[in-house]
Symmetry: D2
Subunit: 293 residues, 4 copies
């Protein structure tokens, strides 16, 4: 089918390629003239036959909001907007209501898979009405991995449920990565285990901890066996924070996901004000030496 | 090759079967007369030709120690004992030294794979001397999964390194399980996501969180979509505790693995003395109501 | 000086008494006819001479918002409203702006001390303009404990800073209580320490952990040495959640305060969905027994 | 009464002074000739009249073990050895049995108070037999703070219970300090609270979080309002580790105390191997940039 695709960055660019390989007609728009298929959002919309489907794949927050706002003016009743970016789920009800004023339909989609999605396919979690989901199913089928549809695609619930599911997915991802990382550090620290990369490589088949993330850790160790080309500095992009905030709102204990999030925060601190306070206290009561600046 | 196998429980029984399918001659011993191939350890040893290899697959602690002690009396110089159970790594140096007094060789092997190992193969982490590892390689090759050897087998280091690696593997496992579990609980708690099993099923392909544990969670949800046939009561078997204790000994931060361990402890408490203390304090300073027994 | 005081519950009632003892003229209003001094908010306002000062001490959220809204209609330019309740700090800028439309001044005050404040005095953290703080200082001086003003009173910053400081105070409180509670549980669990209440009582003088909360724990143990008259069920009232949410917003690691919060969440669960998921996983891979409902 | 005191460092030196002020006759021994009262342990023992009491106040581990060993040779039946250092509680049963072979009595004492103990007195937790405790009570009464004995002194239980109680005391201390530290960092990070030292100073009276540690934090802030003369580098001295290890052994959840311990570990890392692994994973799946060395 025909699809407008706004945003041709790391994710959108690959998605266009995967969709085209599957035989879909994709009209892309990006500010980068080297990759865009159209000169403007208006141009993109003009190239699509009604009823149109436009997939938004731009950064969450203002860029997504601005794109949806502009699309509302350009699209018509019966058209469909899909937000596939990493938007916070609370945006979706607002977007849907805003577009509904003109009779434009809306779906939110959580997309997982990163740079591997081009070849492997993307895991998809969708929120919205069944009829809209069905309508876009050819696109979803092209983007999702080979195999049974339900193993790489879910209609998670009403508007917002797609991004919510993706948010939780990412929260889990934080916990998984930190678990492997703590195990790696312990193995890396002790002298007894003399071939740490071999041990982690051997976890790829048969073990309880085998996973795609583990395969990626092996890949990283293949090129840098001590991981000492890089620094232990880790960004976070929002979904982990939102997951913990949601857990708190719903009184759900989330000790592991929050610990993983806090480890990232700490990794980015040159020096910790909290630990300065602890050092100051130890000095006060015990006369313990402190490290001066 | 020929192998003596002591312990034919959930793990040993399946391992015997997998080894025999691969063409090895296995003489098993177990106290359970329904499954044993020999009447006693002495009988088992008598049925093996020197130099013998005996794999011990009995519960960690006293049963393993007792078996090793008995084997020392029965075996001769040049024989090889392999402890494939869930022993603490500190046992291995003791066992190796004890057996070395009679010239008996020793390897420690961490075995992962659970009830699935029969069909899938077992992930193996081995500690000991290279020559002993090479000697037992036909057995390891039969037990480990299909595919490249190094993806399901590692010679981790000297005596103890196999069990150490398995210990860390299990610590990671605790963290992974808890991460999925927290995400599941959050999805299960909110109303927005209306089809939680579908979402988790859709994580199996293409997503960053795909893993064997996730596949098992899907399996569990297939038979019990709300997981409400069972209680949130979780045992722990030692390796998680040892992992955290090791992390502490080596000053390695392990917030995620320890949080997963503590969640298990808490899951088994009818009532928490700590939280009684917090309730008592709130009552003392704020007059906040407490729940009486 | 003269003060209107709205809300004569557990906190407000005692505050009125403390203020009157200090010689201030307090006109209280509460829906409870047994404790109120006036028939309505309008009646209360009518009994005060301009420029009026009205202290709001009602539950956070709607009750406080409704009271402020009503006061705006009743009060006049130059009057002063003080919110001393447990409002979220984000309410304060809204309240201040809303009242400022009519030229009414506003202060936010975090009040700590619980049921002991009547006798001991209340710790006060204030947000707002210096001139308004100075104007209400006689009230603050009467409410705060004896001793140097700066040891029980702070002008924390502009509007919102009072409630923000109180929020963090309460977050710390969660961590402190949980630290004592974990220590209590460990002592309570081991056999070696045969007189746990005596040990905790002995921490009151000279030790590093001496504190008012510890004194309260001793008080609780005095009347119930095993704390077994009550259940380990602990509510949380908002500030702990807000503190963790703020820490997340500002990328501040808060492992201890969040752990304390999650322990409260877990204490209120009959059964944990997360731990059901972990139990299900262990059953799936290892055939480990589960506890059925 | 007469007391031999071995070890005149930061703690022992002050204790001798406090004991002498109380009228006790103290014969001290230290390797440092500037502070010692005797030339050797033998000389110290020779200066005491039987039955002797010798208090050992040297670093835990080998120094304490060596001192106890030497004292066994020098002392006689009916003499009493008191270990007041930060020994692990498992040492006490060994010391007691070792000394009992010659009829020498033993007590273990956890001592809290740091450099303030000289003036304020020391909190004391004692393990051993009642008769031995009674015999040394004049010493305990001189060392403990003014006020009711039970508020600064406890007979916690049999041999080992004193050091066990002190261990838990220190574990709690870790949690308390980290709770204040996290709150401090949050206040320090946000712009809204403009006078952080004033807020913390105001918590000293009337609030729920008032404590001696808080007073010390105020002291530290008085001389360095941003705590920026020192670095967030924090040592740990054993008791925190032991507390968490004990909690694990007894299946007691200790999320707060362990989080405080791990924060110290992390504070001492130039770079975290675990976070390098997380950074590597993010780069692998998402192409996210990493910080190179």
């Amino acid at each position: 089918m025909q699809l407008g695709l706004v945003g041709l960055g790391r994710m959108g660019f690959n998605m266009r390629e995967r969709l085209r390989k599957a035989g879909h007609e994709v009209v892309g728009f990006d500010r980068n003239p080297d990759v865009t298929d159209s000169e403007s959002l208006a141009d993109l919309v003009g190239k699509l036959a009604a009823p149109r489907t436009v997939w938004v794949m731009v950064p969450a927050g203002d860029p997504t909001r601005d794109t949806v706002t502009e699309l509302r003016d350009l699209l018509a009743e019966g058209d469909l907007v899909i937000d596939g970016g990493n938007s916070k789920y609370t945006e979706d009800a607002k977007n849907a209501a805003f577009l509904a004023e003109k009779g434009i339909r809306y779906l939110d989609v959580g997309v997982s898979g990163g740079v591997w999605g081009l070849d492997v396919g993307y895991g998809l979690m969708v929120g919205g009405d069944r009829a809209d989901v069905d309508r876009a199913m050819p696109i979803f089928d092209a983007l999702r991995p080979e195999g049974p549809r339900e193993e790489g695609f879910a209609h998670a619930g009403p508007i917002g449920a797609g991004h919510y599911s993706k948010m939780v997915h990412n929260g889990i991802e934080y916990g998984l990565m930190q678990a492997y990382a703590e195990g790696f550090e312990l193995l890396d620290t002790v002298d007894l285990v003399t071939d740490v990369p071999a041990v982690i490589r051997a976890w790829q088949r048969g073990t309880v901890v085998r996973s795609w993330l583990l395969d990626l850790l092996v890949r990283a160790l293949d090129s840098d066996p001590e991981l000492d080309d890089l620094r232990g500095y880790v960004e976070d992009s929002g979904e982990g924070r939102w997951t913990v905030a949601e857990a708190i709102n719903h009184a759900v204990p989330a000790p592991v996901i929050s610990a993983a999030l806090f480890a990232r925060f700490a990794s980015r601190q040159e020096d910790s004000p909290a630990m300065r306070a602890v050092a100051a206290l130890r000095n006060q009561f015990g006369g313990h030496a402190v490290h001066k600046v």
